[in-house]
Symmetry: C2
Subunit: 395 residues, 2 copies
């Protein structure tokens, strides 16, 4: 590790984090309810009652040595079986506990996966706009992120650009659907085409190219849209998942990596995942949450709050003159900045106590990300502020 | 990251893990109560009632969005203040929240600290016998572990050997007191001499040499022995801590890094710690446990069970003819193998269903580690087996 890099990563705050901390200061000054904080994706759909009850039951009725003790590194076999059964039920797959490695959330799933799958100096294709930390994790793994911009009209993959970017140094490609920040869901058509292109590239370059599917928003989809389960389309797939958004437990750090049994030699890949977890200092997923998953793996929070918010916000903002691709999933609205410099737009929005994240850190300039995982009340109260902001641009 | 290294780390099980899994199999065959498993350090002192009650209270009375939401990366300021206050009360120090970075347990504290403090190619002195994973974490950080064997008569530091090992490439030295696996506690005299030698080396080599004090067993000491608080002796100290042993919460992954305010430019070191956490995929310590610490930071489990077990086991085994340095802390007995090959001794012990970890992985051959964080009942029932084993050697 490069100590200077570590210091720099510690000092250089992400623009999301900067805005969030500005928001906290402003709330302290003028009151929480007077700041319209759309910066951070802190899920507010209620944690399922059954999850809270199971956590309490585990704490009060079960043997603490068992509940709080170390589990094996990949996680409790019972929890992994429950998760595998749930996936199989939902997606018609055939996974077992042995394909799952429980992690401390999506960030851990990603760092571990990149470290397990990416060759030293290997390229990892990221489709922009995307979660800014991919770059950090890829670099930790000794890889090189290569950005392939999406089509701006619908934030689907631009396949021509993808094909130009693929080369003999490509170790992996990462997709995130439903997407942070655009809210786009990759269509089945896109997944099929992506799989064909990657399989072709594997043949052409005589090497394996992993597809990492980062899907913490998998359950947050609207209008009956289907999210294809990627292992059914592409053989060399590794899925990264987190319960942060689906169970509203982001701070508890609970997720998993699924190594597709279709991978030729998947056991070696699984071993590399275990080894990467070990090398990065991960012992196991927080144990009481593992035990909770044994009975709650199939649950999801009531996500209807996000659907309501999406309708309300998208409808209101587009009516005011703002433009955005209607998001099919996740809880972000990706709005085109009405002035070229999105950071300037974000600054102007602050005047109305609106905190909107400028898009540059996501690898695409000219947009702001609005997280609508907030109370409906906050959205309603923010609309007059949005209207005043709109009036500065669209008279 | 080297994918081959990741695969190898995933496949090459530690001897502790091998023995533990052999134990699980054997228990399934002949019954839990018939296997005397002394392999893993899974703490069995009861979790303090107040901790369990606070966890339940947080889950049932507080707002779930607040309890399970993301905290800042270093952790809730309230939790960090509570921890700092508790340390100051106990050790007469003057820490604040700003010196603490909460982590996902000791392993995370260590990987993050090494990555933040060790130069690429820098040497890290480890005193053997020591926790086997230090080597893995140092290598992840791009450093090179350099073993300095302890004095075998008391497992205190061999200062002549330390001085020979220090050179211009040394980035850091790590100590673990109370010690896994020997149970030794570094005396104040040792800490003072260590500090003098390191300060001298810093001057000689014109560079900073960090002292990393890994102290998850800090509270587990016997006979009124004092564990010096290292920041009071050496300026360039970073403390790694975990609540795994003191609160019996090993699976929950809760710990911290303390960056000593005495370090010249400590804020830059703290930034490097934050950056390393970020680079390694750590978002925050599991949140409900952070909130628990806000009121429970000063608590410790009732550790008297370990004192009883130590008396019982050390007394009985030495009476049978085995020899060991009486441990002053932690919950391990480090027993000299009565035959040169400790692995062979461990194999022989299995015949009597005794699971004792051979010491080679700890960097010293010829011993076995016996974890006495088990029920008193298990120890009592194991004594006839130990006696039969002793009879094979000491007639």
């Amino acid at each position: 590790m490069d100590r200077k890099r570590m210091e720099s990563l510690g000092k250089k705050r992400s623009v999301i984090r900067e805005l969030f901390e500005y928001g906290n200061k402003r709330k302290a000054e003028i009151g929480d309810e007077n700041v319209f904080d759309f910066s951070i994706g802190n899920p507010n759909a209620p944690v399922p009652k059954a999850v809270e009850e199971e956590l309490v039951r585990l704490l009060t009725e079960r043997n603490p040595v068992e509940i709080h003790g170390y589990t094996s590194a990949p996680g409790s076999a019972a929890a992994r079986s429950a998760i595998a059964d749930d996936l199989n039920r939902r997606f018609g797959t055939d996974f077992g506990a042995e394909h799952l490695y429980l992690t401390c959330g999506a960030a851990a799933s990603l760092t571990i996966s990149f470290s397990a799958l990416v060759e030293e100096g290997g390229e990892v294709i990221i489709f922009t706009p995307c979660f800014p930390e991919y770059r950090v994790y890829i670099e930790t793994a000794g890889g090189k992120p290569v950005a392939v911009p999406c089509r701006e009209e619908d934030f689907q993959i631009d396949f021509e650009r993808l094909e130009s970017a693929l080369n003999e140094k490509t170790s992996a490609v990462i997709i995130n659907s439903p997407n942070n920040p655009s809210g786009a869901v990759l269509s089945e058509e896109s997944i099929i085409r992506l799989s064909e292109i990657l399989s072709e590239a594997e043949r052409r370059f005589g090497k394996r190219i992993f597809l990492i599917s980062d899907e913490p928003y998998r359950e947050i989809v609207y209008d009956g849209i289907k999210v294809p389960f990627v292992t059914k389309y592409y053989r060399d797939t590794v899925v990264c998942y987190s319960y942060s958004k689906s169970l509203s437990l982001p701070g508890e750090r609970v997720g998993y990596i699924l190594v597709s049994p279709e991978i030729d030699g998947w056991k070696d890949v699984y071993a590399a995942v275990c080894g990467a977890g070990r090398a990065l200092g991960y012992i196991c997923t927080p144990s009481v949450f593992q035990h909770m998953l044994t009975s709650c793996a199939g649950l999801t929070a009531d996500l209807s709050v996000y659907a309501k918010n999406r309708e309300l916000l998208y409808g209101a903002l587009t009516e005011m003159g703002f433009s955005a691709v209607r998001p099919d999933g996740a809880f972000y609205l990706f709005v085109k900045s009405p002035e070229a410099n999105a950071a300037a737009f974000s600054e102007r929005a602050k005047k109305y106590e609106l905190l909107l994240v400028p898009s540059d850190d996501f690898g695409l300039s000219g947009y702001v990300r609005i997280s609508y995982c907030v109370s409906e009340n906050q959205i309603r109260r923010s609309l007059p502020a949005f209207r005043k902001l709109a009036e500065e641009y669209f008279k």
